[in-house]
Symmetry: C2
Subunit: 349 residues, 2 copies
DNA sequence: CTGAAAGCGCTAACAT
DNA sequence: ATGTTAGCGCTTTCAG
């Protein structure tokens, strides 16, 4: 009984113990083809007895894939990205690969460092939600790596990198139009993080709808936290011509706006209607329930991972639900969920 | 079979191009000590020009750590675990390591497979929230691996594996007592998944408090989804002696209970008080706001990861915020958050 | 200061 | 059917 501490048994140890060559053991652990049934059984017994597990690092060095894919996102705790990660991990698992999750907090430097780390580890591929779609540094480093890359939620402009995003422009436009159809005339739009691709597109959608209807854009892009929402809303309410509807471009802003309106005892949608971008768990439970633009979150992660494996293995070999390969720039539709806060379903408010 | 696999440059390519030996290049990428400044600069230039990155697999094979740690949890999308993961990933990053996230959906077989995969990849260590604290198969495989393991949220009974959990018993007991102090006499407890360690402990806490006060346990452990909550609540309400308070043992049950109560127009806490285990984002925003037992989620993930790196590197070398090493069985305190639904702060309800 | 050479564990020709 | 052997890219003695 060898007490080599901290050491897993090796293939050649198995070979020695089983009285065979290393090639035979290698064949056994790789399916056992072209191996005598008796030998096969014996080797398997030794493997079992020793608790042998092939060393992936050695395989990798020999030229095999690492069976690891990187997943670079702003935050793991964010429900949107954690749901994407869950879906991507499932696809990775189905393809016998590991998902390595890296959170960047939207910091471009951390993002680049993360890519470097993944390259060092020779990840087979890479899924990334870039902090800045236009970052030159990121585009450069991404261009240099040989592993396939898929962009998630936000494309990487000026590159041929495949991406899976939702149609933020159409979603915001549709939502704004819906508010317009309700008859609201002064529709404010609250957001922050205007350098994000998604937010930028949503603003465009809002603008388009508002201007097409000949209304006035009331856009506040300085929102950061609860305080700033409170400040913004109080100012609007105190103005000579207060808004009759608010369109919020991201989850946290929607929630903060709801909270402020609730705190100020402003009737929703009576005095001011509210519609938010991105659904959230309790949107239907709040009173009034919050109308939102919903994105197919799971699909984003799922398709991004599938796209990656298709490029990795060739379209036919990846474990896809569908056999056909997809286009390289996927844009998913969003969905308007009509609840009470926009003025729909007044019966249940 | 012409794959356009742009291989990464290797160390010896750098050496050749720089006109030095591989040893020198190795020294350069490992800090550049004992290397002539001129040579160092030249080698660095070549590395830069070639975009060389050391191959982690080769280093690993040579005996170095893999700089990867595994993180096995039931679900990534679950806010509790994704927050833990975020904290753990930050610690991993600080220790120059990768976090590999595996979701098991509480399936014991997937769990064991996940551990195997991580062993194959020679992860340096392993953080796991076991689906079943008493699983023999899991304990066995965990015992066999040489890498350090830390249990998260749920201990692994019958083993010396360090764990980071919260005091579920005390938390539930405190919460139940709080309800009792409010004067409620018929306090129901709703839950599912009773095979989970956490739930088991919470039930114990509830029982202890109820029995100590000479009250009757009204325990329903068959909750699974909204429907089952609806059914349970309707039955309770229709009974001759309906409860005057409900204590829910997990997030989803709390929310479903709130929804059912809201739908049935039952006044909370007027007719029935509600108190839930585990805080959630909109608990304070709902009307009434929901009182809860809050766990220090980030700390759980953070401490678990720190514990792991302490065992991995020795207490002094890990990037801990504190220099001192921690006990191996950490039990964190929970906190009762008094909001309106239990009967506190009636002014703001 | 610097380099030659010996492996780390595995796979894949190439033998037998 | 099975063994022999040559590396994969890197670190690390051990000599210059």
């Amino acid at each position: 009984v060898a007490h080599k501490k901290n050491k897993q048994p090796t293939l050649s140890e198995v070979a020695k113990k089983a009285g065979v060559g290393t090639t035979t053991v290698s064949r056994v652990i790789n399916g056992g083809l072209r191996v005598d049934p008796g030998t096969l059984a014996r080797v398997r017994r030794v493997i079992e007895a020793l608790g042998y597990t092939p060393n992936q690092a050695a395989r990798t060095l020999k030229g095999d894939r690492t069976r690891m894919i990187g997943f670079i996102i702003p935050s793991i705790a964010d429900p949107f990205f954690s749901s994407c990660a869950e879906a991507a991990q499932a696809v990775a698992q189905a393809n016998d690969s590991l998902l390595i999750v890296l959170a960047t907090q939207n910091d471009p430097q951390v993002e680049i460092d993360s890519v470097s780390t993944l390259i060092r580890h020779r990840a087979d591929g890479l899924i990334i939600a870039p902090a800045n779609s236009k970052s030159k540094g990121l585009r450069e480093i991404l261009q240099r790596i040989s592993a396939p890359v898929v962009a998630l939620d936000r494309p990487i402009t000026g590159s041929a990198i495949p991406s899976v995003v939702t149609d933020n422009f159409a979603g915001a436009q549709l939502a704004t139009r819906h508010l317009i159809e309700h008859g609201y005339k002064r529709i404010a739009c609250l957001t922050g993080e205007i350098n994000l691709y998604t937010i930028h597109e949503r603003i465009r959608g809002y603008r388009k709808a508002i201007e097409s209807a000949g209304l006035e854009c009331i856009l506040n892009t300085s929102i950061q936290d609860y305080k700033s929402v409170e400040h913004a809303v109080e100012n609007m309410l105190a103005a000579a011509d207060p808004p009759d509807a608010i369109f919020t471009l991201k989850n946290s802003v929607t929630i903060h706006t709801f909270e402020v309106l609730q705190k100020l005892n402003v009737s929703v949608p009576g005095s001011i209607a509210l519609l938010g971008y991105d659904d959230f768990e309790l949107a239907a439970t709040l009173r009034p329930s919050i109308s939102v633009v919903r994105q197919p979150i799971d699909e984003i992660g799922h398709i991004a991972a599938q796209l990656l494996f298709e490029r990795l293995l060739g379209p036919d070999k990846s474990r896809s639900s569908a056999g056909s390969s997809r286009p390289q720039q996927v844009q998913l539709k969003t969905h308007l969920i009509r609840r009470s806060s926009c003025g729909c379903s007044l019966a249940t408010s």
